[in-house]
């Protein structure tokens, strides 16, 4: 069965520190992978997505993610976080062909301490 696991429900980091948010997926086939961000009282916004090719994908606001097929992982990274990055981050997976749904992780709530 398809699923996405984000093992860290909450992460707290200091401003300027580096960040990694973990995501592991289970999918029978080659997946599309996504990271979405949800700021307070807003809907989800796409940060970045991976379809194929270079396993490191760049997103908005300095975020990047690396697809590691052997580990079924798609961790999100940022070299230096800002207080405005405080939000909830969702990892998601979908099929790359056909009419399939998205599967979302439960989200990781990030708090950046000024």
């Amino acid at each position: 069965a398809q699923s996405v696991t984000q093992p860290d429900a909450r992460v707290t980091v200091s401003e300027g520190a580096s960040l990694q948010l973990r995501c592991k997926y289970s999918y029978s086939g080659t997946p599309y992978l996504f990271w979405y961000v949800q700021y307070p009282r807003q809907g989800l916004q796409l940060l970045l997505k991976y379809y194929s090719g270079d396993p490191v994908v760049q997103g908005v606001n300095g975020f990047e993610a690396e697809f590691i097929k052997s580990n079924s992982s798609f961790h999100l990274r940022k070299a230096s976080v800002h207080w405005s990055d405080s939000a909830v981050y969702f990892c998601a997976v979908s099929a790359n062909t056909g009419y399939q749904n998205f599967y979302f992780g439960k989200g990781t709530s990030l708090t950046v301490i000024p």
């Binding site: 807003q42 809907g43 997505k49 379809y51 969702f90 399939q100 749904n101 439960k106 989200g107």
Partner: protein, 112 residues
């Protein structure tokens, strides 16, 4: 720019009440989705549709009906609302190749 709007943004009803949540997209996408978001569960798919008149069952459909009247409009219906349906509801639209979903701002529903 892609846009998904939802109304109302907030709704309070009583147990047994009748609620309709509305969603409109101007992205010309064929796919539309209704999710609920609850602490500890993330987003869970209620229903989705790949065109006007079409409806597909998602992962948590019990207690919900949906109707897609046009390519733009997708409605979620709670005919006998229960407190367990208190949640934050998101609508989204997407394309056939599932490359991205675009989300609305959400509707917060409280069932007393």
């Amino acid at each position: 720019e892609a846009a998904v709007t939802q109304s109302p943004r907030n709704k309070v009803t009583v147990t047994g009440g009748n609620v309709t949540l509305s969603c409109r997209q101007t992205n010309s996408h064929n796919y539309m989705y209704w999710y609920r978001q609850d602490t500890g569960h993330g987003l869970r798919l209620i229903h989705y549709s790949y065109g006007a008149g079409n409806l597909q069952i998602g992962d948590v459909p019990d207690g919900y009906k949906a109707t897609r009247t046009t390519q733009e409009d997708f409605f979620l219906l709670l005919e006998l609302a229960s407190p367990s349906q208190t949640s934050l509801y998101f609508c989204a639209s997407g394309t056939e190749n599932q490359d991205t979903q675009y989300f609305g701002p959400g509707t917060r529903l409280l069932v007393l």
